[in-house]
Each structure stands twice: as C-alpha cells, then as structure tokens.
Symmetry: C2
Subunit: 95 residues, 2 copies
C-alpha cells in the first residue's frame, strides 16, 4: 500500500522501453545470441531502417537495459544484467 515514487517511476520507464515489439525482439535476440549485436545486423534481421534501429537502441540504452561496446565504427549491444537483476529478476526467462 505504501507508495515508492522513485521505484514506480523507474519501473514505468523500463516498461516503456519494453513496450514495442521490435525492442522485445532485440532483447530476446541478445539473450539467445552467442555474439553481441550491432545496428546493421539488427536492421537486416528485423527488416527495419538503420535509423529506426538506432532509435530503439537509444531507448533501450537510456532506460539502462543494455550496454554498448564500441569497436571502430561499430557499436555492439549487450544486455545490462544489473538492471534486469535489480528491477526485473527472472524476466529474461519468461521471454
């Protein structure tokens, strides 16, 4: 019954980041893949424009759900497990 404004706002932010099917797919691919993902690969896999993928990457990153490693011009995405463990434990299993 007691209200924790900060936590509820953070959860709402996380769910907002997860409220788009392609972003769910990105998370799922990251969970199942044996390699990191870059923008171009996701663009080809999901058949959407690179600029749209970049937009989704940004949304996931800003919410704290993913991390980025840069190698040359390419940016590789991976899951930020701290966030999942802290706010959405066991969510990845139910995907």
């Amino acid at each position: 019954m007691n209200i924790e404004i900060a936590k509820e706002n953070k959860l709402a932010e996380l769910f907002g980041a997860l409220s788009e099917p392609n972003r769910i797919r990105i998370i799922k691919i990251l969970r199942d893949s044996d390699h990191e993902l870059n923008c171009g690969e996701v663009s080809r896999l999901l058949q959407i424009a690179p600029s749209t993928v970049s937009y989704h990457f940004k949304a996931l990153r800003q919410a704290g759900l993913t991390k980025t490693r840069q190698q040359a011009q390419t940016k590789y995405l991976s899951l930020n497990m701290e966030t999942f463990n802290r706010y959405l434990p066991s969510f990845l299993d139910s995907l």
Copy 2:
C-alpha cells in the same frame, strides 16, 4: 533467436499498459490491499481526476491485467492472475 510474433506483440502490449507510474501504483495497491478497488477510491488515493482513473482502468483491463466486478453503480477492480502467471510470472513479487 527464433521470433514469436504473437507473443512479443502481447508482451509489448502488457508493458505498454505498465508504462505509466500511476498504473504501476494501481497494480501494487491491488496486490497489497485486502479489498478490491473502485474508481473513486483510486482517484482519492492517487489524487487524479476520476475520468483519468477510468482511462487507466480501461487500459489495464484491455491488456488483460485486471478484472472487473460490478456491484450496483460501483465497479471493483482486481488482478487477473491468469495473465500475470502466463506472461509475467514472479513480476508481482518484484513490484
């Protein structure tokens, strides 16, 4: 890696319904409360207009997260545990 369009769309819909702080609060209050909630009570608790609460109730209901029981003019909201168990197991514990 294999894509399940229907499931991902459903999850995105559920997360959309949970992407608003006041709706998270409604779910949380329902989880912790010993009684069902109606529109007026939530309006007073969260300090938002009854019409806005009604809008949020509808969003939660349409996503399948809650159920409604009507008694006279009053509609009582409760959690739809089937949906939580099926798509978001253990989510309520992490709230």
